[in-house]
């Protein structure tokens, strides 16, 4: 295998980890509440702007920006849950699409109104430079995002499978009525799920901001990637999102390098459709 190909694959894995990072929140909410959050990409965007504001106003790098973005977005998640999601959750699926799409526009253009349309960017090398070893080059900011992606995925997975909070959240996801009979208040669990999901998304945004550009419409680009990642991985499956993210990252990188970048999205979509045919529940989802 040529050296370039190794670099392509490593790059793809890092990219995929980032996809997984900003998809984990979407899959959590999707699995928990069976709700499609069309505003997900805009949550990522908000995370990016929080990190940017922290950097420009307070001079704080990712050390301060990332936790603050997590906190701000988690709070926003709870607010959004109580103000909007709770009201539309029990309605038809269309009302959910309507509500979250409206929210997406609202968030996107509120930021637009406040910050303007200019492309913003964090200074290069804010996290550290680029590591080079054995001819491979890995950007510190991407590595950080990749590592955090793994940690977040692992953390979410452990939370859901090993803790009593996670067990309660899954109980609410599976059967709200039965969960109530266990003395669990669905509202609380769902609000917590939104806080975690939005917080993880904000964290993802803050980390991506270190190597991506920042603009109010960036959520459109990232949102669609998150949707494909989550559906490929299986709605509600956090490990599924990780595997799907890595897979998509590598496929994009490889097909971009080997057969031309303009076809890479087609490859991903066709693969997704192919998958749906044989495994409609996604890679790791449950029916």
């Amino acid at each position: 295998m040529s050296f370039v190909l190794v670099q392509v694959i490593v790059g793809g894995l890092l990219l995929g980890a980032v996809y997984a990072l900003f998809s984990s929140g979407l899959t959590l909410v999707w699995g928990m509440m069976n709700i499609v959050n069309f505003a997900h990409g805009d949550f990522v965007m908000l995370g990016m702007y929080v990190a940017y504001v922290v950097y420009t106003l307070m001079g704080g790098g990712p050390i301060l920006g990332a936790p603050l973005a997590t906190l701000v977005l988690a709070t926003l998640g709870v607010v959004v849950y109580f103000a909007l999601i709770r009201g539309i959750m029990k309605g038809p699926m269309l009302a959910q699409i309507l509500g979250t799409f409206g929210l997406a526009l609202l968030l996107r253009y509120s930021v637009f109104w406040w910050f303007g349309a200019n492309f913003l960017s964090m200074p290069p090398n804010i996290v550290g430079g680029t590591y080079a070893f054995a001819g491979l080059r890995i950007e510190a900011s991407r590595l950080l995002a990749g590592v955090v992606a793994l940690l977040v995925t692992l953390g979410l997975h452990l939370l859901l499978t090993r803790t009593s909070l996670g067990s309660k959240m899954l109980a609410v996801a599976e059967d709200q009525t039965a969960a109530q009979l266990m003395g669990i208040r669905p509202d609380t669990m769902q609000a917590i799920a939104w806080a975690i999901a939005a917080g993880a998304t904000g964290l993802a945004g803050a980390l991506i901001a270190n190597f991506f550009y920042i603009v109010p419409t960036v959520g459109e680009t990232l949102g669609i990637v998150a949707f494909v990642t989550v559906s490929l991985g299986g709605f509600g499956s956090v490990p599924g999102a990780l595997v799907a993210g890595l897979l998509i990252g590598v496929i994009e990188s490889l097909s971009g390098y080997l057969i031309g970048a303009i076809y890479k999205d087609i490859v991903v979509y066709v693969l997704f459709l192919f998958f749906l045919w044989f495994r409609p529940q996604g890679l790791m989802g449950k029916m």
Binding site: G102, L106, W113, S231
Partner: protein
């Protein structure tokens, strides 16, 4: 009886509208409302009545738009000749796509339709023969009346009104036929419908194909009116969402829901854009987004469901526990 009075008032207003509000912009606004109402009504057949939420309907819209513009740009024909071609393309595609995807339920179906639409958009973007990213243009200077390139929106208005009437008539006929009965049963519970012997797969597929055909007509009309189609305006995911939102906002699964949705959203969008858009602060979409959120939050069944008791009581008992 009251229904008929209401209906005749609506029809009378629809016919008289371009004469009452006669500035070119108002007439065009009226035509656009009807155009989107056609697309949203077509979507309503599968998204509203059958409850299969397609978020990739733009792919059929694009079939029509590209067929109409292609007829002119590639063969020098009137774009009108593209309409049957667009219908054939759309129905064929619906059959190919529908067989595997209609098995999927809920969000999986929605995601699959998005994937199909995006794949088509990307393929067309990279296809030189279809104009790639540049798109295809229609006749800018009409050669004859069949080019449907008019200065005034008036002919478009009445053409769209006629086609909307046909679309609604087909929908109405469908809902009162055996197919409509099956569709309602499938929407309530597909398993129950199957166990009662309703041919669920076939019914959904027929509805999907019918919806695709009508959507492609809307796409062809759209391309003719604007004289242009490119991958973004003919196959972009935002068109799908726009169509869906109009139907949902007015009331999905209700005959006049999409028309109500279009009659509210199209003017809202155009007028707020005209008032606020030039300031460049994005306020158009802040207003637009806020209104959508409020309607979704407080009238999840769509605005028209305010008038119909059936869907209101449905929302009440949907408290998550079936006795």
């Amino acid at each position: 009886m009251r229904r008929w009075i209401w209906l005749s008032v609506v029809v009378a207003f629809a016919i008289a509208y371009p004469l009452l509000l006669s500035s070119p912009f108002q007439q065009r606004l009226g035509a656009l409302v009807l155009l989107y109402a056609i697309a949203a009504s077509a979507w309503n057949i599968v998204g509203g009545y059958a409850g299969q939420v397609s978020v990739g309907h733009v792919v059929f819209f694009g079939c029509g738009a590209y067929a109409a513009m292609g007829a002119y740009a590639k063969f020098g024909l009137s774009p009108l000749f593209g309409i049957p071609g667009g219908i054939v393309l759309a129905v064929g595609l619906a059959a190919i796509v529908g067989v595997p995807t209609l098995r999927l339920s809920g969000h999986y179906f929605s995601m699959a339709t998005i994937a199909v639409a995006e794949t088509m958009r990307l393929i067309v973007t990279n296809t030189e023969w279809l104009g790639a990213a540049v798109g295809l243009s229609g006749p800018t200077v009409p050669r004859n009346i069949f080019d449907l390139s008019f200065l005034s929106a008036l002919p478009y208005y009445y053409l769209f009104l006629a086609i909307l009437s046909i679309t609604l008539a087909i929908t109405w006929w469908m809902t009162n036929s055996r197919m409509g009965f099956y569709l309602r049963a499938i929407k309530d519970s597909e398993r129950a419908a199957r166990s009662l012997g309703a041919p669920a797969s076939r019914t959904k597929l027929y509805a999907y194909m019918l919806s695709a055909a009508l959507t492609s007509v809307a796409g062809a009309l759209y391309a003719m009116m604007f004289g242009f189609v490119d991958p973004e305006s003919g196959l972009g995911i935002l068109i799908s969402v726009k169509i869906l939102i109009m139907a949902a906002l007015g009331g999905a699964g209700l005959l006049f829901g999409p028309l109500v949705g279009a009659a509210i959203l199209v003017p809202l969008e155009e007028i707020s854009n005209s008032w606020l858009g030039g300031k460049g602060a994005g306020l158009t979409f802040v207003v637009y987004g806020a209104i959508i959120v409020l309607i979704a939050r407080f009238q999840p069944g769509g605005l028209l469901s305010l008038l119909t008791r059936r869907s209101r009581s449905k929302v009440d008992t949907g408290a998550g526990y079936a006795p």
